[in-house]
Structures are given as structure tokens and as C-alpha cells.
């Protein structure tokens, strides 16, 4: 995969133009999108106009920002002025964004070129990206399989070279799950650090906006540009030294129900890190087993509130599986929602305690490799389990707790499917998490 970091240097040296890069991405979209269905809207003319403008500015010695001339995509629940934001649903097919989302505006100010809006699981309410009003997204590594979700189009676009970076959202794992399933990097920032204004919500208290990218350095570059100017640190970070890095391996629940190849790859990676000087200790989150119940009640309650009116007025415009889940969401009682809110606070405290004395937590990003379309269950240690439950299992805890978390590729299954490793950092220390991820990425590349 081409990285933004590499291309930025080549753009500055005049070895490549933004127009050429953008044309390459648009050619890939034309070639591959009929098969992968990663994009709902392609903004080719606008992108090429932006790219030509960027080339003029670069030739004049004017650097607008760290993403100047870089072709990226937006998950189609993020507003881009003058373009439909469909959220992959026919419910919003007539929508037109009147303004940019805050995150779109920041990326525009950083010089990004927008090539299009990517497909997703309808309203981000699913993990496979197969239920979309615009048809399923397919995994570039095996089109008979899901790319993960809900930001499946964003991950498929990067893995296949249709855009060099993308912006997704993550309510239970929707950045990290597709990143793991497609073999790329996905960063879920700390809750509230990137504005979700102008982004279609699933659950406002669990939604996180963040980057998907080809490398950890690229994910940082995008993340940094998404922050307010006053909070931007710099375009590049140094890797944390592995010698002396302290990692907390989350035991119990987080390794109980894994695909055999995922378990092997993650454990081998941890062993490699130990051999290179990292100190690894076992840590736990005592109420981990309650997390699915907490998550379910919160997401259902919030989704029922947002979709209440349109479920009555235009139920036929939802895909049947998403409509059914939203109908079920309406049955959650207020008293149980409150119990879940209290459980969420407890999980956040327990994750803080697990992080006490370590630089980051380490665990799988996704319990299984990309599942085949239509699969209801997948085999894992301890017997088959529901696909949706398995896909959320390792990622949703950190939506409840709000801690920053990153998924990066750590090998392949016997079928050649990507596997993702997850690192979780301290609140208020996202740069340190990314520095740890840079170190891990370097070991895996060696």
C-alpha cells in the first residue's frame, strides 16, 4: 500500500503531483468499485479540481497543511458540503449536506483532496457492512467475505488503493474491526477528542470519529489534522523504545473466545515484543463479561431515540435487518438504560486500573478473521458463537470506557486473511499510544 508519509515527501520534491495521485485513486475506483462497492458517491471532478489547485500551490512554494494534495475519502455519514450524506440508507437518499462536518473542514484546511464518500453498514448499526441501502461492501482480500464494519467501505478503499486515507466512526469497533479485517491501521481516539458535529450519530455517548490508514504514521498524520489547531502536536512522532515498554496483556474474557489463527498470531506478536525488550504483565477487567449487556442497552436506547420517528413514517426505507434491530431497540426500558450507564462508568474505572503501571494494553482487535457473507456463527475456542457478538467482543469495551485504541495488522490466517492487534492507551495520552504502535509496527515489519 502507498503511504501518505511517503507520498507527501515525493509531492514536496516534485516527483509526483496531486493530480497524478488523484487520477490513480479514481482509476482504481473505476476499476475496483463495481466489485468491492466501497464507495457510494465518487466526487471525481471536484477531487481533480482540488488536486490541480494543490499542485499550483505546491509549485508556488505554498504548503497549505500536512495533507496538501493527498486524496482521501469520508465515510458516508460525515457531512461534506454539497454532497449527499446517505449513511448507507434510503431514509437519507434525498439528503444534501449544507455544510462540512467539523472534521471535514479541518481536513480541508489541512489540504486534503476528497475523492468520495464510502459505503458502510446502514446507519453504522452493524459490523459486517453487508446491510447497506446501496448493496454490501466486499473485502479486497476475498470478495466473498465481509470487510468488517461499520466503516467497511473506508477500509476496503485503503486496502485496495482507492484512497490513501479515510475518516470513519467507531461506536463499538467500527474503525478497528474493518481495519483488522482488511489489514490496515485504524485509530479510535479518546472519546470526545475529535468533534462528531456534522456526523450522523448511532450513540452520541459511544461514537468516536477517527482515521483509517495504511500505516500507523499515516493514522497519526490524519488524527493530528482532525484536531483543533490549538491541540495539534506535529505531523510525525518517534516510536517509543521497545526496551522498557510496559504492556498489559488483557487476560480472561479477551482471549477466551478467539479463532485459533487470531490467538496464535497475537500471542506470537506479544512474544516477539517481549524478546525485543518489552515487559508484559497479565492484567484484567473484572466485569468484562458484562460489557456486551451494557453496550447493547446503551446503543439500543440511543438508536431508538434517533430513529423513532422515521421507523414509523418510512420503515420500508431501512434494510430489513437494520430495521428489525431498531424495532427491537425501542423495547429497552429506562431503568435498564440507567443500569447500563452505571456499568459503563464501572468499566471505565476498571480499564484505568488495568492501565495502571503499563504504557498500553495489548489484545486482539478482532476475535475472528473476516467472516463470509451470510455467516451467522463462526467457530472459535469453546464452540461456535454469533458473528456479531464475536466481532464486537474485543473492541466495544473501549467505546464504553472512552480510552484511545488502535488496531494494526499482525499477520495472516491460514486462509491468507489479515489479523489485527489492538493497543489501548491512557486517557490524555494518545500520542504515547501511537508511539507504542509505531514501535510494534516496526517489529512486525522486521
Amino acid at each position: 500500500m502507498i503511504t501518505i508519509s511517503d507520498v507527501t515527501a515525493r509531492l514536496a520534491r516534485g516527483e509526483v503531483t496531486s493530480q497524478k495521485l488523484t487520477e490513480q485513486c479514481l482509476a482504481k475506483i473505476q476499476d475496483l468499485n463495481p466489485k468491492l462497492n466501497a464507495f457510494i458517491t465518487v466526487t471525481g471532478d471536484e477531487a481533480l479540481a482540488q488536486a490541480r489547485q494543490a499542485d499550483k500551490e505546491i509549485a508556488d512554494g505554498r504548503r497549505i497543511g500536512p495533507l496538501h494534495g493527498i486524496p482521501i475519502s469520508l465515510k458516508d455519514l460525515i457531512d461534506q458540503k454539497g454532497i449527499a450524506t446517505t449513511a448507507a440508507s434510503l431514509v437519507r437518499k434525498d439528503h444534501m449536506a449544507t455544510d462540512d462536518a467539523v472534521v471535514t473542514q479541518r481536513l480541508r484546511e489541512a489540504g486534503a483532496v476528497f475523492v468520495g464518500k464510502t459505503n458502510l453498514h446502514e446507519f453504522a448499526f452493524g459490523t459486517t457492512s453487508e446491510d447497506s441501502g446501496f448493496g454490501p461492501v466486499r473485502n479486497p482480500h476475498d470478495p466473498s467475505r465481509s470487510p468488517g464494519g461499520s466503516s467497511g467501505g473506508s477500509a476496503a478503499a485503503i486496502a485496495s488503493g482507492m484512497s490513501l486515507g479515510s475518516v470513519g466512526t467507531d461506536t463499538g469497533g467500527s474503525i478497528r474491526i474493518p481495519a483488522a479485517a482488511c489489514g490496515i491501521v485504524g485509530l479510535k481516539p479518546e472519546w470526545g477528542h475529535i468533534s462528531a458535529s456534522g456526523v450522523v450519530p448511532l450513540s452520541r455517548q459511544l461514537d468516536h470519529v477517527g482515521p483509517l490508514a495504511a500505516s500507523v504514521a499515516d493514522a497519526w498524520l490524519l488524527y493530528n489534522a482532525m484536531q483543533p489547531n490549538s491541540e495539534q502536536i506535529g505531523d510525525a512522532l518517534d516510536a517509543m523504545p521497545l526496551k522498557g515498554m510496559r504492556l498489559g496483556k488483557l487476560s480472561g474474557y479477551f482471549f477466551d473466545r478467539l479463532d485459533a489463527d487470531v490467538e496464535r498470531s497475537v500471542l506470537e506478536t506479544i512474544e516477539r515484543l517481549q524478546k525485543r525488550g518489552a515487559k508484559v504483565v497479565d492484567v484484567s477487567v473484572p466485569h468484562a463479561g458484562d460489557m456486551a449487556a451494557i453496550y447493547l442497552h446503551l446503543v439500543f436506547g440511543d438508536a431508538a431515540e434517533y430513529h423513532g420517528r422515521t421507523l414509523v413514517t418510512r420503515p420500508q426505507d431501512y434494510t430489513p435487518p437494520v430495521r428489525l434491530r431498531l424495532e427491537m431497540a425501542g423495547y429497552v426500558l429506562a431503568e435498564d438504560y440507567i443500569r447500563a450507564l452505571r456499568g459503563k462508568d464501572l468499566i471505565a474505572r476498571e480499564v484505568d486500573r488495568a492501565l495502571d503501571g503499563v504504557d498500553a494494553l495489548v489484545l486482539p482487535a478482532l476475535a475472528i478473521p473476516a467472516p463470509p457473507f451470510g455467516a451467522v456463527t463462526m467457530p472459535v475456542k469453546g464452540g461456535p458463537d454469533a458473528v456479531r457478538t464475536l466481532m464486537l467482543r474485543c473492541s466495544q469495551p473501549f467505546n464504553l470506557s472512552g480510552h484511545p485504541a488502535i488496531s494494526l495488522p499482525c499477520g495472516r490466517s491460514r486462509d491468507g486473511l489479515p489479523i489485527g492487534l489492538q493497543l489501548v492507551g491512557h486517557k490524555g495520552r494518545t500520542p504515547a499510544l501511537v508511539q507504542a504502535a509505531l514501535a510494534v509496527e516496526a517489529v512486525l515489519a522486521s
Binding site: 449487556a293 442497552h297 428489525l324 443500569r339 452505571r342 474505572r349
Partner: protein, 55 residues
């Protein structure tokens, strides 16, 4: 409302609305709700007075 009472009412409502496919999903939600209500962080009037975890 007990979970059994809630589930019976929800199933009847789903049938009335012509959504029988919801019934197995509601049974799954009921199991998650049982787990939530049984969790040890819940306060009850006949247990200790609730305390703030940050103090």
C-alpha cells in the same frame, strides 16, 4: 416490571404489529437484561447506601 412480564408484553406487541421476526431477538435482549439486572454494581434500597466511587 419483571423481565418475564416485560418479555411477554413485548412479544405480544411485536405480534400485534406484524413483526413476529422480533420475538427471538427479544428473547436475546431479555437474556442481556437479566445479566444487567443481576450485576453487582446495582444499588438497592435494602443494601448499603450508595457512595461516590471518586471519593
Amino acid at each position: 416490571m419483571t423481565i418475564a412480564e416485560w418479555l411477554a408484553a413485548a412479544k405480544a406487541d411485536a405480534e400485534k404489529r406484524g413483526l413476529p421476526e422480533l420475538i427471538p431477538m427479544l428473547e436475546g435482549l431479555a437474556q442481556a437484561t437479566e445479566r444487567l439486572r443481576a450485576a453487582d454494581w446495582n444499588d438497592n434500597p435494602d443494601k448499603d447506601t450508595p457512595r461516590d466511587h471518586d471519593q
